[in-house]
Amino acid sequence: MCTRREFLVGSVFGLTLADALAWGRESRTKSCILVWLNGGPSHLDMFDLKPEAPAEIRGEFRPGKSSLDGVRVCEHLPRLGGLLDRCTLIRSVTSPEGNHDRASHYMLTGYRPTPALVYPSFSSVAAKEFGVGQALPNVIAVPTAPTYAGAGYLTAAFEPFSVNSDPSREFKVKDLESPVPENRLERRRAMLKAVDCFCTSVGEYPARDTFLEQAFGLVTSKEARAAFDLTQEDPKARGRYGPSRVGQGCLLARRLVEAGARFVTVNDDGWDTHDNSWKRLAGTFNQGKQIYAGKLPDLDLAVSALLEDLEARGLLESTLVIVMGEFGRTPKLNAIGGRDHWPRASSVLMAGGGIKRGWVVGETDAYGELPAVRPVGPEDVLRTVYHVLGIDADKEYRTTTGRPVKVLDKGQVIREALA
């Protein structure tokens, strides 16, 4: 039975950033930014060029300068090529899943998909482990979460918060401000608590409680809301990231991490280059309403700006940056000037907190078809990520039917990638 006094006392403003940092974890890496290249980025046209291969394999791009010996970076990624000495590049990731959904599930959860269960992505596991501690939602997706980047059996409370707006155009995250002044918001909050307290017909509802707490946190924290406001960024700095969606998405990710968000996914579409590869990747390609003006130059600007910006602000040490997609693409060009799905070999780029600077893990064979040295699977990549984030990958969760499932049931940390 609720009394009036309980409500007047019960209101809480969002915790400050300091409180969040004091949450207590072992690792010094506090946040993670995943740049998700949706569709399957072509490893042979990005970080694993094979200029000596026959023309129908090597494609039209040539290698450019690279600050890492032995790594042939595409000429259209010059800035990233120069920054490789601060990253670890894993070239020998391999998986058998060649379907977008299945492959995404595997790369994002570390489990092969089964009809029995949808597993939580590593962003949702991070959300669960990091807990709710401060004003910003812990896990955010820009503009929307990729398929299988969700909470799976961990329930709705750990779904990423999708900003649902394109950061490169008129970006606005809706509903972050209350239409009523603070004192009325407080009263509303107290009233809501009372109404819920009186309710006897609906039982416990943890997902909703989490959302409410997060929502109030956002609404009452100007700093948190400011993080979502790209107009508050210096226009020159904003321009450094490039006007593309991935560019502004990375900028938003930096702002969010700076304001205390723990996991931001920048979801970049358009990498499924079955046809017109060269135009889509480095030229200009019109597809109905979408114009792809060079995925590679856009990515180059975006991620290089992100890494340099994080470093300049002293955030790179505590932020893990991952650039990857669900699979690579066929070394052999198809009949329509593109590459098809190829999960047997792909690359993953990592930088930041806990990751070794200037290191390459593995290599593929002469045509980039299979790993020739040090093959690793998605579960190995994720185990490494969990290790860096200070999350115990052997921890067991329970699904809604009570079944025990480990965060990861396989995989080994890629020790060479650790700083």
Partner: protein
């Protein structure tokens, strides 16, 4: 007494005698009769190759080691251990001074018959399953789906075109062309030195396990139980010979005749 026939893995012909390899020994046929059996000490024999009066056999023990033996008549001339897995094929060099071996350990062995030393050629990323020699060219095929062309110790070319393991290779009699047979159920014909694909033969219902190139045909043996005679120019299948339904592992042209052996141990002369 063995109440069942052991699978035939290889057949060879030296002009007079037909050698048929089975686990447990190599049966030597002359005028239609088995005149002796070589190597009855239970061993695995995977491949045979004849040169002059000598027979090379290869085998070993899967997962452990490979072994090559050379016979002359019923005398065992030599025995060499090589590789860390079974040897699938053996081939004589053109000058008869070395033997090439295709190893399950992904390597090709080059055995100098005088000294007995073994060098290895590395490059395949899967078991080496097929070999063919012509002049100074050595061609290998493997479970990594590639065909590799070697001159001396150097890899001259890698052909990556088949969708499944390459099980068999055969040069045309004039050495200008090379046929490859694969688990992708095709036979492909190449100009090996330049790596150019000139023909693809479809129409097999199973993996192509062995090949022979006679004066007029490319002959294929398949896991669908059939032997096919293919006209190389227009890649039509001129004749399909039904088997007993089991995998046909080995083919051997013998003069104007052709023999095949399958996994149920049946040796057939093809009409």
């Amino acid at each position: 007494m063995i109440a069942f026939l052991l699978s035939i893995t290889a057949i060879a012909w030296d002009g007079e005698r037909l050698y048929v390899a089975r686990p447990g020994g190599i049966d030597v046929y002359r005028d239609g009769r088995v005149v002796e059996t070589l190597g009855v000490d239970k061993r695995v024999v995977m491949g045979l190759a004849v040169r002059g009066g000598r027979l090379a056999e290869c085998g070993g023990r899967a997962g452990e080691k490979g072994e090559v033996r050379i016979w002359e008549g019923r005398t065992l001339l030599r025995s060499v251990e090589a590789h860390t897995d079974v040897i699938y094929r053996v081939a004589w060099s053109t000058d008869g001074k070395s033997l090439f071996t295709a190893g399950g350990d992904k390597r090709i062995g080059v055995i100098d018959l005088e000294s007995g030393s073994v060098d290895y050629l590395e490059g395949h990323t899967g078991a080496v399953l097929a070999l063919a020699v012509h002049g100074d060219l050595l061609v290998s095929g493997g479970a990594d789906r590639t065909i590799r062309v070697w001159k001396g110790r150097s890899l001259v070319r890698t052909i990556n075109n088949h969708w499944d393991s390459v099980h068999a290779l055969a040069f045309s009699p004039d050495g200008k062309y090379l046929a490859s047979g694969s688990g992708d159920k095709t036979v492909r014909i190449w100009q090996p030195e330049i790596g150019r694909l000139v023909r693809i033969v479809r129409g097999h219902d199973g993996a192509v396990l062995d090949l022979a190139w006679t004066a007029r045909h490319v002959v294929s043996a398949s896991s669908d139980g059939k032997v096919r005679l293919i006209a190389p120019d227009d890649v039509t299948i001129e004749r399909e010979v039904e088997g007993a339904g089991d995998w046909v592992n080995a083919l051997c042209p013998a003069g104007d005749r052709l023999f095949s052996g399958d996994a149920s141990g049946r040796l057939r002369e093809l009409p």
